[in-house]
Amino acid sequence: MRAQPRDTGREEAALEASLAAVWSSRPGLLGWLTTVDHKAIGRRYIVTAFLFLALGGVLALLMRWQLAQPEGRLLGPDRYNQVFTMHGTTMMFLFAVPVMEAMGVYLVPLMVGTRNIAFPRLNAFSYWVYLFGGALLWIAFLLDMAPDVGWFAYVPLAGPQYGPGKRADIWAQMITFTEVSALAVAVGLVVTVFKQRAPGMSLDRIPLFVWAMLVTSFVVILAMPSIVLASTALILDRLVGTQFFNPAAGGDVLLWQHLFWFFGHPEVYIIFIPAVGMVSTILATFCRRPVFGYLAMVLALVGTGLLAFGLWVHHMFTTGLPRLGESFFTASSMAIAVPSGLQIFCWLATLWGARPRLTVPMLYVLAFLFTFVLGGMTGVMVASVPLDTQLHDSFFVVAHFHYVLVGGAVFPLLGAIHYWYPKLTGRLMEERLGRWAWGLVFGGFNLAFFPMHLLGLWGMPRRVYTYPPELPWGGLNLFSSLSAALLAAGFLLFFWNAWRSARHGEAAGPDPWGAGTLEWATSSPPPPWNFTRIPVVEGADPLRDSPDALKVAAGLRLDRRELLLTSVMAAEPEARESSPRDSVWPLLAAIATTAMLIWSIFTPWAVVWGAIPVAATLIFWFWPRGTPEDES
């Protein structure tokens, strides 16, 4: 056997040069299109998701403008239906879920100390599919053929009889895109966490954010098939005349709601659990101590992930359920407050007497605690059947879920962006602007959404495009709309800050916050190979435990992309494994998939003919190139 170059005992500079030779992408457009680097793809994912956030925000402003006064004239009923559907669909499917997964894509490999995500080509594929799915939805909106059936697309409204045209088909197919991309990412993350952790990072030393992403990925893997099934059945009903949801032919309308919410409720936790991980990470850093109750936190994460599947029916309390069902799902809905409460108390204990540094990320964490607790309280309220019967489909519910989603996920996310921005770009975000943006976002949010609780209690229904002046809703609606402008100003400031700091921000070293997790052990932004030498972990907080010099592993080959596989439990080194090189086939496969999926809205034959290019691109993607599998 020919001697292979290894990294053992090499000079740092020579080592980096040879790593650069194998890990770097080609320069130029081709390199951009073919790269499988998790950092490039994660960054892209994040930027795209924030773009969709901005678009969805514009829609929200349109709605607030329309509702600011009775008999508003900005949007007609048909356009309003499209706008609220697009807002919900964009925010849930194109912003919240992808952005959380994107943070995982970027951070998890860094935090577990490996060189790339598992299945990097699949990861690249997932981004392209996500991008094309989002483009499909928004192009349809520009063409006045956007879905208008709500982000949940209930049948029979979305079914063949009452949903004419292609609008609901576009919704269902867009869901397919996001399903595929979310599943692809989830699989990659699970394998990365299980098999690619740095040696020594046993289960009890995994950073909480990584735990959160692991639980989230499992929730994705278990929840998505339900919506795959549902949206496929819907599109079959609509396009080829099957009878899944036709009660007259033995189908069932409520089946849709069950399938949708069996996915839809865990979806909330798909968004929320990563946010929880971000909060724990930020708290630990700025309180300069590990989060109180690591084991309890991990169990709470896992518990949330499990319970997430036991309470979907609380979205359907008003559909007429047997008593026992109502009681069971009330109980389970309230039970989810237990792990959430547990985490809140752990965070409070962490904060207790810690004198945290009140940086912008920390401010967002405080905003999260306040807002999320409020949203959680109203959640317990609507979890009780009698109250829910009263509040169902009113603005109270709108207020509740915005408190939970914006408070519970967007605030931590904004904090996380400030926190990890140096790792993403190598520069810090401007602190003063950040504080202003924080104030506007936090204040504007509460002023805009708190009145909606009252509006709901006063009987204002959701999804109405206008209301007559005789009803007493005008004042609060106007107030809420004006406050929404504040919120929007805050987001503008945030975007401006992010944009400006990318070029003019203060340069950050590898570890500007004095944090303890592995992503801070490498330069900011990290080189394509992440770690010049794979670190060895000896505690939960590797950088704090051994501040001077991290132990490293050696023996990896330098003539190909190679990373270290470790055992699931104790993270003992098991094997060296090659990591795939850049490839254009994921992009081409995504294009072929897109063509097939969109075409199939117009004719079922697309599934037959469209499958041929998909198969062809996949065959080339997996074409064996004669590199023998490496043993150990």
């Binding site: 063409l143 063949p160 009889q161």
Partner: protein
């Protein structure tokens, strides 16, 4: 790219939802220049100016389908297969001709063989919606814009699935 853009622009017409036409437009829609026999003629200019929405727009077609159910057409015509009281509409055979304006006239003014007149019960644009739907029902092949199946016991394939079975004429 250009073809794609054109296709998309064409598609968007199919999806627009004109909930209620402007009153003058609605009035003008009644101006069919009919031949004295009541068969054939020329639809009003505004029908073309609108881009023939009643045949190509998914929303208008499914409104036609709903009117078909609401105004009891099925009493005599069944789900298009016809009954003892009225002829079949989906066999592609028309007593009075397949043209849009002829069907419109059948609906508006009725026909001597027992077809009631509907001009007192439906507005101009509703008559056109219905005519578009009926024409589509008997068309040789399903269009790209077509209503889907109803939530009813299935008696025949949905409009967007199946062309008429024995359709000798392309309308």
């Amino acid at each position: 790219m250009a073809i794609l853009a054109l296709a998309l622009l064409g598609a968007c017409k199919r999806e627009v939802r004109e909930l209620r036409p402007d009153p003058p437009v609605a009035a003008a829609l009644g101006g069919v220049a009919a031949l004295p026999v009541g068969i054939g003629g020329r639809p009003p200019e505004v029908y073309f100016a609108l881009g023939k929405p009643y045949r190509t727009n998914a929303y208008q077609l499914s409104e036609g389908k709903r009117l078909y159910a609401w105004f009891g057409c099925a009493e005599c015509h069944g789900q298009g297969e016809g009954t003892a009281r009225g002829p079949a509409l989906l066999d592609g055979w028309w007593n009075y001709g397949p043209a849009m304006e002829t069907i419109y006239l059948s609906l508006r003014d009725g026909r001597p063989g027992g077809m009631p007149a509907f001009h007192t019960r439906l507005t101009e644009d509703q008559l056109w919606q219905l005519a578009g739907y009926v024409q589509q029902l008997g068309a040789y092949s399903g269009g790209a814009a077509a209503p889907g199946r109803s939530d009813e016991p299935p008696v025949r394939p949905a409009e967007n699935r199946a062309p008429a079975r024995f359709a000798p004429l392309e309308p």
